[in-house]
Amino acid sequence: MAPSLNDDSPPSTIDEAFTENNLQPFFVLQKGSPRKSDRKSSGTGRTRRFDLSSASPKNSANIEDEKEDENMNLRMEAFEFVWSKIESTIKDVLRVMNTNVFSEIETWVHQSFDTIRSLGTPEFPEATQSFPIITDANSKRLFTGLVLTKNMEFVDDLLTFEELGKHLKYQGCHVANLSSLDFIAKNGVGGCLRSLLRQFLMSSLDPADISILASWYREENCNNPVVVIIDDIERCCGSVLSDFILMLSEWVIKIPVILIMGVATTLDAPRNILPSNALRCLCPFEFTLGTPAERMDAVVEAVLVKPCSGFIIGHKVAVFMRNYFVSQDGTLTSFIRALKIACTQHFYTEPLSVILLEFASEEDNLVLEIERHGLSPEVIWKHVFEFPSCQRVKLNKPTSESLAHAFSELKRLQNQWRAVVLVRLSLFLCFDCLYVTGKGEKVRLLDLFCEAIDPESYNQGEFDTNMKAEKDPVLSSSQIKGHVICKAVRLVRYVSNSHNAFHLSSIRDLSTAKLGNLLKIWENLTVGIPEIDGKVKELLSLLNVEDGKSSKKDLTVTPRRHTSRIQLNIEKDSKSLSDKAANLIECMVRDYMHPTECIPFHEIFCFKDVDKLRLVSTEALIGDPRRRIQVDLLEFQKLLCCRCCTSSSNALLPSMHDTSIMYKLAQEHGDLINLHDWYQSFKSIVLCPNSKRKPRQSPLPKKRKGIKEAESQSEASIQAQFCRAVTELQITGLLRMPSKRRPDFAQRVAFGL
């Protein structure tokens, strides 16, 4: 049953195609046709598609539509631009994170290759034989790198292994990436061999034979190692994997294969999967990748804190996404997907998001040509001044210039905010290094970020009150508790006040060397923001002076009794310095950390519709068919909005959807439903037009006599309705059909929503 298509539906042939092709396993509905609009979408060479001034009022509706389309296309373009930027940033960040491990692996690969070569290269006659050379047990050793992914969820590491493959390829190795799909029992060892041949020889040969690979390697110049990467061995079929390993180990002289295997759990994994004869062939080495939390922080820093694409998320959205990351599966992939969904939502709903294209690409002199974005200026101004953030500041002159000015202001404030957040981060990193074991509560950038973009606490001056409370620790300690930024200040003060708690030298370490390092980092971070930069420089010069003094004192040989006095002096100086540093941070937080949501026009760049995201993400990201399909059936009136069935909520009416009646009836039964009873109750409901039957009552045989008069519907059609409803429940998986053992009972599958 095709629904009535709308007016501009395609030619009727498609409708015919629907009916004709109903039973075909597949058909091509339409072939690729030339695009309707000849829009050209290269990023820079965009041309104005239509002239606003010539828009005649006659077909204004049409033009509006066209404009809307145009705007949508531009938004799509902007989305592609922004998302590709975010995506490449994420990739870069992860690559940088893995650089060390990758180069470690690379060195090991080359060392192993040299070891294999040192066992001897095959002579020509040997090399051309189509069977392996075996000299001794030593020559059967297969160098194996076990890469611990530190992540049970494998999905985050797919990219890592792909990148590792690329990296090694770039270094001259022959690389093949295999996945657990190549190691399934059904295909046996032939499956992975075929995959290897495909990747090395670029062709699929049947039958797959390792001697082909050997002759291929001989034809290559034999100077490069062959690396086979298996991304998750836990999911491979053990017997196939062990066959594969045994086979490779026999050929290792002819084909110097080096295995790299991803291990999600512990180093025991190979021992659990492989039999001992295969294990004996392995010569394992261990490498470790970064944890998901570390990756997460790096990604948050690069994408959300540092300037990346211009797209940002609001406080509530950030909190939601953090909780989503923590409470869902804890994978970076799902976080990125949530971010992408937020991004698509934003670009889909916000017409002015097109501006992001220019905002992100152009630097300072942002010249806005609103008309370029396919919307009429009136519409845009109206839209812009409806933003809550604009109504707050009461801008009165809606001009392009004022908007452009506001944008550059926004950029400036964002830069300040960013610098302060990063300064905070550096502070935490510094203290993390110092007191990792002492505190036990590692501050995550994501938490810091969520707090730093909270507009409410900023508006209420919460920072200030907390700061004050900080000075007097007795005051409202509960209020301070958990406030990450204050914690940082507290730490600074803690360190500067606690003379007795730590050995002098450690404080001195912090006060001079550490503090100096910190300040240097801050200086780098605040480049381009003169207000903060000046203060940091000032502090740094002060520190240098102090440093000079103390080193001079250190150099001069002082008598023993004077040492304590000098130390006291240094202590005092450093205390005043760290005090100053703490003051600077307070001042930064107070004056320069404007959360984006407090800045006018931020709505253009900032996605903050958390309710929508919540709705979408619980639905769009994971879906919930089990509950939703049942709710559909139980509360179908809400969806169909029909007048006939809404009168009484609880009673079953004959006008209701058959499957819905059946499912509601099924709720009365236990895990087994007697088909006869079910049918009778269904029949009694369908036949009684005005019965106010409660679904709780079970049908009684005598009741059937009363319904005799309603004979309008034939028995056959009721039975057919019953059959169809049962079939539909079977399709949805809510019912299991009668088995041979119990032919009169169907089985309920779902209990409760």
Partner: protein, 349 residues
Amino acid sequence: MDFNAAEEEEFGFSRNYFLAKETGSSGKKSARKLSDINVVDEQELREASANIEPKHQNDVADLINSYKSLYPKWVFDLRCGFGLLMYGFGSKKSLIEDFASTALAEHSVVVIIALAEILWEQLKLNRKVSSRSLPKVQQPFSSRSMDDLLAFLDGPEMDEKDSFICVVVNNIDGPGLRDTETQQYLARLASCSYIRVVASIDHVNAPLLWDKKMVHAQFNWYWYHVPTFAPYKVEGLFLPLILAHGSSKQSAKTALIVLQSLTPNAQSVFRILAEYQLSHPDDEGMAIDDLYSISRERFLVSSQVTLNAHLTEFKDHELVKTKRHSDGQDCLYIPLTKEGLEKLLSEMS
């Protein structure tokens, strides 16, 4: 708080389950038989089920039409690189086909309808056709293995960004596509850069078909809850009617489909057996030796081995069953009624 809610839910689930178990096993369990229902003749039942008066036809149409406003968003999502997954009660076939034919008019659209009876071989064929519809690109290879095809479709960045092939799979969790291998291939197909998948699921446990890699990295689903309440006509086509068991017509029909895919010789062997069964209604079955000698006489088989090959084929499709004869010999019979068998023979010829 979320955690508590989840715990609560879990508790509710188990409680419901045990309550249901209890109700089921308590003395109240009804012992009525299905056969107590005066089931009408099957022919009549089928006719009636073909002519069921649809309820709420207008409301259903309105509901489906109300999703039209989502089409632009769906196209936007597809262009953003997501795959669309529709779920909710009711057949979504017409909805997604309508979407594909109206909103995706700019793109090449290939529709695959997943049905219970689709064999994997046929699906492979689909892929070939789908690649042929690729605009402006010639297939550069002669060998057409699945891997080649996937590699071809997963080309580097396309010239024109918005040209993609949209593969529409209705009922992607249908019985014919439910095995892991098929889903893996579909996932790999979905992860190709040229391909976007629009699919619908109907089963409540459909997400169990996919692992994290498939969901996040390959299919990249964007879920939409779009109940339609439209009847499951196509999806339920091959499911038996519950009140029409032992249906001679249905099994004769499926038997015919299977037989037609076999060689003429195999068909003739089956015919010998069927004719024997019709002419000896009281016999328990036909002895294998007898079948062999008759088949050989008619030059249908050359050896016992060939006959056994045919028989294995029959048995695999449940066309023929073996029974121990009272004299101890194995004999063959066709598990169909006399009428069904007659119908089958008449349709075979």
